[in-house]
């Protein structure tokens, strides 16, 4: 087909000549900088089963699954931090990478269509799931960010956390709106 003939030089041009100037920081919104702070904060109010960490100094892994909306803000917030003695590590994960090793997982809106499958694969695994995907907590996730009147609030599904073996502090439960899986 003539198409291929026309297409080839174009594709070559793209693949051979990557633009330079790559080290500038990714612009991240204020909104996600706040959400990143929330994410780090949540970890202080959740109890994980003791066997989650293999060693006393195993890292506390915060995964970001799918398109990263945080830019560098999440890394900046956790830099040099540890949670209960475990150094915090941020991992950016693509759809095909294992997620069960994370201690906490932020699921990006880009994964909306696959959300059910993602949550299924985490069933009964002690991973704190957080997202701002629509209806996340009602779809079986644990904590969902909700933008309300220009502020960030969250809904919590305590049942989902309990099933995963996590216990949420009463403070967290008081601040969030409680929902259950399947709620309208």
């Amino acid at each position: 087909m003539a198409l291929l003939r026309k297409l080839l030089p174009l594709l070559c041009a793209i693949l051979i000549a990557p633009p330079g100037h790559a080290q500038a920081p990714t612009p991240a919104s204020r909104e996600y900088a706040i959400k990143a702070a929330f994410l780090f904060n949540f970890a202080q109010f959740v109890e994980w089963p003791t066997n989650v960490f293999a060693e006393a100094d195993s890292p506390f892994v915060i995964g970001v699954l799918g398109a990263n909306p945080f830019g560098k803000s999440l890394e900046e917030i956790v830099r040099g931090e540890s949670i209960r003695g475990h150094p915090v590590q941020v991992r950016y994960l693509r759809a095909d990478e294992p997620i069960a090793d994370c201690t906490a997982l932020f699921i990006s809106q880009s994964e909306n269509a696959r959300l059910e499958a993602i949550l299924q694969s985490l069933e009964r695994k002690p991973v704190l799931t957080v997202s701002d995907v629509e209806r996340f907590a009602r779809r079986g996730g644990m904590i969902r960010f909700v933008n309300q009147q220009n502020k960030i609030r969250f809904t919590i599904n305590p049942e989902a956390a309990k099933n995963a073996g996590l216990s949420l502090s009463s403070k967290l439960l008081r601040l969030g709106e409680i929902v259950r899986t399947g709620d309208p």
Binding site: L3, L7, P18, I34, A36, A37, R114, E116, K151, G182
Partner: protein, 656 residues
């Protein structure tokens, strides 16, 4: 006129495409990042009181827009099972979509539907895709990787104050995802009765830290439509398309997008071909092809001020042997600047220049004088959204001013008022003036049509043809009585003057002229109901009346009946989307489309069905059945009385 209708269907005229990428700009949140470390020190309670946007602009919530807007999300498109852009609009209230044969669609908003429907502005990623030949869209060549579409915004009613001439009855904005959001590999393919075989591949990667890219390629081969006696209509076609997109977030202030597509296809197409002594229906091997390249730079001066500069080039080619050939090159440059003054004014202005050059192949049946033409348009627009009462009342006033080679200077103002009595209700009213500027088909065309035994009728363009004008009055109401339930309604009344017709000049000549005034009125309702966490319903109803009135002195004898009879008076759709256990999705849709008096097309009810299974994350198997309730049905008047058949296909999609 009926002798020409078929020909005008694939022939064209020219107009001025003026586009602006306002809504894309709006979709990008601008808020600059404050130092994340500052937030780290805050307690949960303090974080909850932190404002997300510090008086900077935010993308406008669609629920607050003072116009009739409907958004098709990626999920809406994916789960409707449609394989073409045109078919996706069947699930938008207020739009008329009819498939004429295997590769021809008629798509319009709020009436005047035809294969050359000319009152709609359509953009794919900021590139206007209606052809300046007749200011309608060749829907057969409008394709993209459907999986990479982020959303399609459809505005019914005028958008001309920002989008320019031809955004008379609607603006369609197809927006693809950023390359950053389409990382990884996607493979898709399938086969079926009408979708004989199709496949696509996309790969998204990263050149460097903030530079993302994707490339894609796709192919399809579609089966013939059917004749009333069920024989194949011999109008099969195939297309291949490929493209790329690069998104580079250079730093906090500057973002760049580069993208391009290239496509090539051929179709078996029937055309009526006249000679001085005969007329025949000819099945010609039509070739279509084209390509485009676009770059866009977005610069943030501050949280309150954003500039966008976009440049694109587009080439199209179409060759219907013995009937029509067109090669067209279009260049477009578009600058816009949005700026917020204080807390009350959101001001946006823009400049645009467009140049389009064509070269057409003349035949006895269809010719253009001159055979090559270059047309230019320059325009400016400004619009202010002014908050009269905080959180309660907003006024939007704006206008586009443009100059084109056909009708000179045109102004297209709009005034819109939106009231928010509370968080769950919006009421809006609007009044606008817009124009449909003359195109090449209006002024330059010559069509010969031999009628046995010995007559040749001739239709001629008219250099005196002037712009069609319309005043539009709209009223809208949105309400969300329950968290799970929302309604969006709009009523409109349009007053057109100088609508195109063909004046009869005995004995055998027809001349294109501003023959009619017209009015349309109607309403649309869209509803969303999230019944259960796993079951959602979406519905829409549209009502439309169109009345043409011949202007004094006009001798048009045919357009009134054919135009008034080309839009369904009532349309209803209802969609059900179910997420079932075992990773199953079951989606069904029912559509009712009222009869068309033109061509005597009966009303029809169509049922679509989709069952999908995702056994492991990223791998989806789907079976889609369309038009289940009948074996075949006509949707629009065609010379050969083509009918659209039931379609069943299977599809596999794999993301990794």
């Amino acid at each position: 006129m009926k002798y020409f209708k078929g020909n005008i269907g694939y022939v064209a005229g020219s107009a001025l495409l003026l586009s602006s990428t306002l809504s894309m700009a709006r979709a990008q949140t601008l808020a600059m990042s404050d130092a994340p470390e500052a937030f780290k020190k805050l307690s949960l309670e303090q974080l909850m009181e932190t404002e997300v946007t510090s008086a900077s602009r935010t993308p406008q919530k669609w629920s607050e827009v003072a116009s009739a807007i409907y958004v098709l999300s990626q999920e809406d498109i994916h789960r409707s099972g449609v394989m073409t852009l045109a078919d996706a609009f069947r699930f938008v209230p207020g739009m008329q979509v009819a498939r004429l044969d295997s590769s021809t669609w008629a798509v319009s908003s709020r009436g005047f539907n035809s294969t050359t429907a000319n009152k709609l502005q359509v953009l794919i990623d900021g590139r206007s895709i209606y052809t300046p030949l007749f200011s309608g869209v060749f829907w057969d060549v409008q394709d993209t990787m459907l999986e990479d579409i982020d959303r399609i915004e459809v505005i019914r009613g005028p958008g001309a104050s920002v989008w320019g001439a031809n955004a008379v009855n609607g603006v369609i904005n197809v927006m693809s995802r950023s390359a950053k959001d389409t990382q990884g590999t996607l493979l898709t393919g399938g086969a079926g009765t009408e979708e004989r075989v199709f496949g696509g591949v996309r790969y998204g990667g990263k050149f460097a830290e903030n530079v993302y890219y994707r490339i894609y390629g796709k192919y399809f081969n579609r089966d013939d439509s059917a004749l009333p006696n069920r024989d194949p209509a011999l109008d099969e076609w195939q297309m291949g398309q490929g493209g790329f997109r690069i998104d580079w977030e250079r730093d906090m202030q500057n973002r760049f997008t580069f993208q391009g597509d290239i496509y090539d296809g051929n179709k078996a197409q029937w055309s009526s071909v006249s000679t001085p002594t005969s007329t025949t229906m000819l099945n010609a091997d039509t070739t279509v092809g084209g390509g485009n390249i676009l770059s866009r730079w977005t610069h943030d001066f501050s949280e309150e001020s954003q500039l966008q500069l976009q440049v694109y080039y587009d080439h199209t080619h179409r060759d219907i042997p013995q009937v029509f050939r067109e090669d067209r090159d279009t260049g477009n440059i578009d600058l816009q600047h949005e700026i917020r003054f204080g807390s009350r004014n959101d001001f946006i202005w823009g400049l645009q220049y467009n140049i389009t050059a064509d070269e057409v192949g003349n035949t006895y049946s269809v010719a253009w004088d001159p055979p090559a033409k270059t047309a230019q348009t320059a325009s400016a627009f400004l619009q202010d959204e002014f908050t009269l009462i905080e959180d309660r009342l907003k006024l939007t006033a704006g206008s586009k001013f443009e100059h084109n080679d056909y009708s000179g200077f045109e102004a297209q103002p709009t005034l819109r008022l939106a009231a928010f009595p509370n968080k769950w209700q919006t009421i809006w009213v609007a009044a606008s003036r817009s124009v449909r500027t003359p195109t090449r088909i209006d002024t330059d065309v010559r069509i010969n049509s031999f009628v046995p035994p010995a007559t040749t009728l001739q239709a001629l363009g008219n250099p005196e043809f002037g712009s069609e004008k319309v005043y539009t009055y709209e009223l809208g109401y949105r309400v969300q009585p329950l968290r799970q339930l929302s309604f969006d309604t709009a009523l409109f009344y349009n007053e057109y003057s100088r609508i195109r017709g063909v004046d009869f000049a005995p004995p055998t000549t027809f001349v294109i002229a501003n023959s009619f005034d017209a009015e349309t009125y109607g309403g649309e309702v869209a509803a969303n109901y999230d019944l259960l966490s796993w079951w959602r319903l979406k519905g829409g109803y549209s009502f439309l009346r169109l009345q043409m009135h011949k202007r004094p002195g006009s001798t048009d004898t045919t357009s009134e009946v054919s135009t008034e009879g080309s839009d369904p008076r009532h349309q209803v759709f209802i969609r059900s989307l179910m997420d079932l256990p075992q990773h199953l999705q079951l989606d069904t849709a029912l559509r009712y489309v009222d009869r068309l008096r033109s061509g005597n097309i009966p009303s029809y009810v169509a049922a679509d069905f989709r069952l999908a299974w995702e056994p492991i994350a990223g791998l989806e198997f789907a079976i889609i059945a369309q038009n289940l309730l009948d074996r075949q049905h006509p949707e629009f008047s065609t010379a050969r009385r083509n009918e659209i058949e039931q379609s069943i296909y299977g599809k596999v999609t794999w993301r990794f």
